[in-house]
């Protein structure tokens, strides 16, 4: 396969995976959050996770930051369409940021 269609197919696949994730991804906590719930005695090590468990309650860090698209969404008002927009934005920002940084590096070395 030529490089250009290969790269276009790669971007299309990434966007497809991102959109699929919005509808198909598991809502269970990840490994770190599950561990936090386990050590807080909110779940057994192999049992289900509580739906209202707060994994970060165990943390004592004081720094707080409000991201513009928290939890890969635009807020409850926008629901799933907002999540689709968020993941598409994130995927394209990743593509463009890495491309831009890479181009800046290759340009400055000439």
């Amino acid at each position: 396969m030529e490089m250009k269609p290969f790269l276009v197919a790669g971007v299309a696949l990434a966007l497809l995976i991102g959109v699929a994730a919005v509808f198909l991804a598991s809502g269970d906590p990840d490994g770190l959050e599950s561990t936090a719930l386990f050590v807080q005695n909110e779940k057994s090590i192999t049992g289900p996770s509580p739906e209202d468990g707060d994994a970060e309650a165990i943390g004592e860090g004081t720094f707080e930051y409000e991201a513009p698209m928290p939890d890969y969404g635009l807020g409850e008002v926008f629901g799933k369409p907002g999540e689709v927009v968020a993941v598409l934005v994130g995927t394209l920002v990743a593509l463009l940021l890495v491309f831009g940084v890479g181009k800046a590096i290759t340009t400055t070395k000439h």
Binding site: Y65, M69, G90, T91, A94
Partner: protein
């Protein structure tokens, strides 16, 4: 495995940031030496793919889910553990700043776990197993599994130092959950390498030449 701000005291986060920045500087040196106009789009597409698939949490049982991290994948495809540091640093930057996934003060420790440890464990395990077995996909799958499992244990130790998780229960749970999540890492990494090797065999052949 994205550690939030709340889990690590600020003083420790600064230490992790300093260590991470050393590896980020080395990754930029790698990029300056290895990247050219042909490779930059490939690295960018790989980063986009890793970002998207990190959003796709799959159930692993035990009330837990997990996703590909991608350190081993980046290191194997691009032929250097510093490729993983380069890509994961930029992906973690986006996730932390725009989506609040992983903290800002803890971005350093996340770069160390997923980029540095994941990239180095994945790359060198792949090289060793490929040399022994000669099977690219089996070597990549196991290397990726280990590149998920070892950073999880490192995170458990970091959480114990931070006073967030007790050491032994933290190691047990992180180890158990990421042993399961690592299967996802292994399968997707081997599958992605299969797709790349079939569509563009030259990319993987170049990697084999570098490894030899």
């Amino acid at each position: 495995m994205h550690i939030p701000d709340a889990f690590v005291p600020l003083g420790q986060s600064i230490v992790y940031w300093i260590i991470a920045l050393v590896f980020v500087a080395l990754a930029l040196k790698w990029a300056r030496s290895e990247l050219d106009d042909e490779k930059v789009p490939l690295v960018a597409v790989l980063a986009a793919g890793i970002f998207a698939i990190q959003a796709f949490n799959l159930p692993v049982g035990m009330g837990t889910s997990g996703h590909l991290v991608g350190g081993a994948l980046a290191a194997i495809v691009l032929g250097s553990p510093f490729a993983a540091v380069f890509i994961l640093t930029l992906v973690l930057l986006i996730q932390g700043i725009i989506f609040g996934d992983g903290g800002l003060t803890t971005m350093g420790v996340n770069i160390i776990n997923m980029g540095v440890i994941g990239g180095f464990v994945g790359y060198y395990t792949y090289g060793a197993l490929k040399g022994i077995s000669g099977n690219t996909y089996a070597a990549a799958a196991f290397a990726a599994w280990l590149a998920c499992f070892v950073p999880a244990l490192a995170a458990a130790i970091e959480m114990a130092i931070a006073g967030t998780f007790p050491l032994v229960p933290g190691l047990m749970a992180m180890g158990l959950y990421h042993a399961a999540i690592g299967i996802i890492e292994g399968v997707i990494t081997a599958g992605a390498i299969y797709l790349i090797a079939n569509a563009r065999p030259d990319i993987m052949e170049k990697r084999a030449e570098v490894a030899a």
